[in-house]
């Protein structure tokens, strides 16, 4: 028996009560409520039987429904009673399912919200970001609340015209960001920052603790940093500040790309050819532990221009990290992949291109993240020793000239710029390894 329209409010309330739509936006609920209908069923009324066409999905608004899986489904608990907020009849949302897996009967007089599955899928597909999230939650709910084997409980992948490959990458990123904002993590991070900065402020400027008394305080540094007329000549308003940043970034970029361009092929070769490894690896392992600062004199002798010497030093540390991780990456590849590729008729270089390189990518990018870190580390060390511009140079000369707040400005800038470059490497890695991002996203969900 149909209930008159104008009860959209009740429909939306019922949607809101159910697990998949709990966090959905009002706009989405409104669109779904528009295609849904409230129906009342008498006690003992049969709603549908197993094997029938799975066209509608139901949400219980009130009352109670008995849900019995047919035997072939292999549910651990075949019988389930579903109360208000419960969802049933979701077979239409499953991959490769079009028939009812169960029968449903009202055991009390019940009010049900009935949603045509195809309409629902269309609406979800038109909202690439939210739709994917709701569909995901359907998947989770089915796996959590119903004891069907997981291979059956795979929800459909939303596709449709607007959802191109690029779009789905974008929507995945958006979905992860929205998860992040909803999780406690960003707020914990803010609290962490507040405690850190608060301690600094109190220790230096309020309590004036022994050892902290002579340090530049938080307010002094921030004022200097943001001042149009800085006392010591360096702030966000001075062109010089950006020149230092730019010079350091440019040096790191050159060193990092050079290290990647040489380190990745070297690592791939060492991992791929045992013979090549025999030649190179022992020398490699002898050179690797030598600290960068020990290379300074040699670098100055080797390169007449200080600029090249600084880049060389930054390059060196980065190169070792990249090459080593790449080699480990190749060695970590499961032998079956190589064998499978040979079976399928791939030639040696095709195996290299289609198995070795993509298989090693996760390790390569771990290596590149370490590499960009040590690149900054050795750059600043090199800039302190020689060089005329750059953030390391700022920190060192500010110390000599007793411009203490500028030291902190240089350090904080290094932290921010270093973090940003590291994030860029991570984003590049995620972009190249969608398969991994998706696997991880699924295992988190």
């Amino acid at each position: 028996m149909e209930v008159q329209a104008g009860q959209e409010h009740e429909a939306r309330a019922a949607l809101r009560e159910s697990a998949p739509f709990r966090d959905a936006s009002e706009r989405l609920l409104e669109r779904i409520a528009a295609v849904a209908r409230l129906v009342r069923v008498e006690q003992g009324a049969r709603i549908y039987g197993a094997g029938e066409v799975a066209d509608d999905l139901y949400i219980v608004a009130s009352g109670r429904v008995e849900h019995v899986f047919k035997r072939e489904v292999g549910a651990r608990e075949a019988l389930k009673r579903i109360g208000p907020g419960g969802v049933f009849g979701w077979a239409g949302l499953l991959l490769g399912q079009s028939a009812r897996l169960a029968s449903a009967t009202a055991v009390e007089p019940a009010t049900l919200l009935r949603i045509p599955a195809e309409d629902l899928v269309k609406i979800l597909e038109s909202e690439p970001v939210e739709g994917a999230a709701v569909m995901d939650r359907f998947g989770q709910m089915i796996q959590r609340d119903f004891t069907v084997p997981t291979f059956l409980a795979q929800v459909r992948r939303l596709s449709g015209a607007p959802l191109t490959e690029e779009m789905s990458r974008f929507s995945l990123t958006m979905y992860r960001i929205s998860l992040w904002v909803k999780s406690p993590r960003p707020y914990l991070m803010m609290i962490g920052f507040a405690i850190f900065l608060g301690t600094w402020y109190l220790a230096v400027e309020v309590w004036r603790l022994p050892r902290f008394r002579d340090m530049p305080g938080l307010t002094v540094v921030v004022k200097e940093w943001l001042s149009p007329n800085p006392t010591y000549g360096l702030s966000v308003y001075t062109a010089e500040y950006y020149q230092h940043i730019w010079v350091s970034i440019w040096r790191v970029t050159q060193a990092f790309f050079l290290a990647t361009a040489l380190g990745v092929p070297l690592g791939l070769l060492m991992g791929w050819s045992p013979r090549f490894k025999e030649y190179v690896f022992p020398i490699f392992e002898m050179l690797r532990p030598i600290p960068i600062l020990a290379w300074v004199p040699l670098a100055i002798v080797m390169f007449i221009a200080t600029e090249s010497a600084v880049i060389f030093l930054a390059f060196l540390a980065s190169f070792f990290a990249t090459a080593l991780n790449t080699m480990l990456g190749v060695q970590s590849i499961d032998e079956s992949y190589v064998r499978a590729a040979h079976c399928l008729g791939a030639k040696r270089w095709q195996v290299f291109r289609h198995v070795i390189i993509p298989g090693a990518l996760p390790f390569i990018f771990t290596g590149l993240q370490i590499s960009i870190g040590v690149c900054w580390f050795s750059l600043v060390a090199a800039e302190m020793v020689s060089g005329q511009y750059g953030l390391g140079y700022v920190i060192n000369t500010s110390y000599v000239m007793v411009r203490y707040p500028t030291i902190i400005i240089g350090m904080a800038t290094l932290g921010i710029v270093g973090y940003a470059t590291s994030a860029l490497v991570r984003i590049a890695g995620d972009y190249l390894m969608q398969w991994r991002v998706r696997e991880l996203a699924l295992s988190e969900g």
Binding site: R156, S336, R339, A341, C343, L344, G345, H354, R436, E439
Partner: protein, 284 residues
């Protein structure tokens, strides 16, 4: 290797395997271990031959010799009259006429299911990318895999992954499928679905299947013949012809003949398992 374009009837004439007196001795540290001992076995074209033995009995060594992953010490293996490997050429060349489906699955996780499926023909240059994609989509749809073409293997269930892997193998029109305990990691429910799916694929393609397992029930349900192997060194101990007609479905499991065959063979299998256990063989 020249492959004739074949469809249907012609397939049955390919895939005859003859294993003659094969010996495999591992000699890692001077202490010779005999993994396969004068093993001879003939597998008819288009037959499902199940190789049953306890874990670590050396049956995978035999599979690796056919596939070309390992050398043999002596004897020879022929495929359709051509020598794959012998004492003179101890290692066969791996190729798309004999495709292995691995125990833990070896779909490339960095390629989508469809990219995995078209990998063989595209690498061999046998089809253009567009042809391969068309054929791949059709074969996936045929195996009940429509809708997951653009998912990565890590995103679908393990049962589906196994099916994708078999489709990837069949795309190459192989003479033999070599399956190395492919359903070992699956729960028994998924396994039963996979068995029927495999038979369904087999009835359409009639490819020779060399299937390693330690599950006797699985062996009798699927196989035309079951070879029960002795534990290391490995050679056939008992050959059983399963006289239950194909096509089969799951009702076979409860039939009287099935129970009889189980009884007839379980003693032999159990004996080998006990021996393997006492010898303390490592899995492998």
């Amino acid at each position: 290797m020249e492959m004739t374009k074949s469809s249907g009837a012609e397939v049955k004439t390919r895939g005859h395997i003859l294993i003659e007196d094969v010996v495999k001795v591992y000699d890692p540290e001077g202490a010779a271990v005999m993994a396969v001992d004068h093993c001879s076995l003939e597998i008819e074209a288009g037959e499902i031959c199940m190789i049953v033995g306890p874990s670590g009995c050396g049956k995978t060594t035999l599979l690796n010799a056919i596939a070309g992953f390992h050398e043999i010490t002596s004897g020879r293996i022929l495929l359709d009259g051509e020598v794959l490997c012998s004492a003179q050429k101890p290692r066969a060349e791996p190729g798309p006429d004999r495709i292995v489906v691995f125990q833990n699955g070896a779909l490339f996780p960095w390629k989508t299911n469809l990219e995995n499926v078209v990998f063989g023909p595209v690498m061999q240059g046998r089809m253009t990318k567009a042809e391969a994609l068309d054929r791949g989509r059709a074969m996936m749809a045929d195996a009940g895999l429509a809708g997951v073409e653009h998912n990565y293997p890590g995103e679908v269930s393990s049962g589906m992954r196994r099916r994708v892997e078999i489709v990837r193998a069949l795309m190459n029109n192989p003479a033999v499928l070599l399956l190395d305990e492919p359903y070992r990691a699956l729960d028994s429910l998924t396994k039963s679905v996979m068995h029927e799916a495999l038979l369904e694929i087999y009835y359409k393609n009639k490819v020779t299947i060399f299937f390693i397992t330690h599950d006797l029930e699985e062996a009798i349900f699927l196989g035309h013949r079951v070879a029960i192997m002795t534990t290391r060194p490995c050679k056939p101990k008992k050959l059983l012809t399963v006289d239950i007609p194909h096509p089969r479905d799951y009702s076979v499991l409860t039939s009287k003949r099935f129970r009889e065959l189980m009884q007839e063979t379980s003693e032999a299998v159990h004996e080998e398992a006990r021996k393997a256990f006492q010898a303390g063989e490592r899995e492998g």
